[in-house]
């Protein structure tokens, strides 16, 4: 680190010094990357162990919802309403996006036609 600061302060760096500086920087980034990778791998492996330990044992067969204990059942209505809402939000969102894009294109067509008519001195029919 001090070496880098020293090199930065020295304004009259020679070409060979610049090369050393670049190599030094590259090595520093490489080392940081390696440390980060090792840390991520360690965290990942630990997280997998923790998750596996807290997961309930997998069920071997399909159990109908009606036969599940009450505490394991999820309320169906919020999921059903969410699914229905998502479909409609996406559909209306798409219509809104479509009308915006369409009006932008039609606006540009009107502008261009007007500009063309002004340039030629004539009038052209437009039915956008």
């Amino acid at each position: 680190m001090n070496f880098v600061l020293l090199m930065r302060k020295n304004r009259r760096l020679r070409l060979s010094d610049m090369r050393i500086l670049r190599t030094f920087r590259a090595m520093r980034y490489f080392l940081r990357g390696a440390v980060l990778l090792v840390a991520l791998l360690l965290i990942g492996s630990q997280a997998t162990v923790i998750v596996e330990a807290t997961q309930p044992a997998p069920v071997e067969e399909f159990v109908p919802i009606g036969e599940l204990p009450e505490e394991e059942r999820l309320p169906a209505a919020p999921f059903l309403i969410s699914a229905y809402s998502i479909v409609w939000i996406l559909a209306f969102g798409y219509f809104w996006m479509l009308s915006r894009r369409l009006s932008a294109v039609e606006r540009e067509m009107v502008t261009l036609t007007k500009r063309r008519d002004d340039a030629t001195g004539g009038t052209s029919e437009s039915s956008f």
Binding site: V59, F62, P64, I65, G66, L74, A76, A77, F79, L80, S82, A83, Y84, I86, V87, L90, A91, Y94, F95, L98, S99, R101, L102, V105, E106, E108, M109, L112, T113, R115, R116, A119, T120, F128
Partner: protein
């Protein structure tokens, strides 16, 4: 768009609105599925949404084939319109499915063959749209190839549940629905089909107007 098409579009919007207004009542009156209960009512929009996704993929694939082999620009415009709808309906299917799975299977995403192939199909058409937007000159033909590949993926998505058995229901479920459930189901399928036609008409109109704008720009630059 001429007057007749505009009238057809208005008629479809009215029909669609009436059908969708009645759909919740029909869904509510339908009986609950025996093993999954209330949450299985997601079926009434999850499955029709996937039907529309497949339809959009087929339209896009066939139009792309016509564009590739016959070079018709109108086919390309239809293909890009359908591709956008394929992505939209795919997103709807990929979000409603996990909500159903979480309650009935206990997991958000089971990574079985059906869900994984459906995700790949969705990504295929996202790739198509990205290619169209950022691919530069000649990207239309490349994208058409991608669309054809996506279309041939559909039969695999559809039959996957019969070949690789998982918790996902088989393809025999829809044809064997009891009448009390089949009525609302097919009502919803028709309603989504009408919605699909309205959306495709609108999107196609945008693409046609863009083509006209390009012609205008070209004519303006020529002068």
């Amino acid at each position: 768009m001429n007057g007749v098409s505009r009238r057809t579009q208005t008629f479809l919007i009215v029909v669609g609105a009436v059908m969708f207004a009645a759909a919740p009542l029909l869904i509510a009156s339908a009986p609950n599925e025996a093993t999954m209960g209330l949450v299985a009512k997601i079926l009434y929009f999850h499955v029709p949404v996937w039907f529309m996704m497949f339809l959009a993929v087929f339209i896009c694939g066939i139009a792309s084939g016509v564009y590739l082999f016959k070079g018709r620009p109108a086919a390309d415009r239809l293909a890009v319109s359908a591709a956008e709808l394929a992505v939209l309906f795919g997103v709807m299917g990929l979000t409603t499915g996990p909500l159903w799975a979480r309650v009935s299977w206990g997991v958000w995403w089971p990574w079985d063959v059906r869900t994984t192939l459906a995700l790949i199909l969705e990504m295929n058409f996202v790739a198509y749209l990205l290619l169209r937007k950022y691919g530069g000159p000649g990207a239309e033909k490349l994208a058409a190839g991608v669309a054809l590949f996506g279309m041939f993926n559909v039969p695999f998505v559809y039959v996957s549940v019969n070949v690789w058995r998982t918790l996902h229901p088989e393809t025999t479920v829809v044809p064997t629905l009891p009448t009390a459930m089949a009525g609302p189901f097919w009502w919803c399928v028709v309603a989504y089909f009408v919605l699909f036609l309205v959306m495709l008409g609108g999107r196609r109109r945008l693409e046609d107007q863009r083509a006209r704008l390009d012609e205008l720009r070209f004519a303006y630059e020529e002068e």
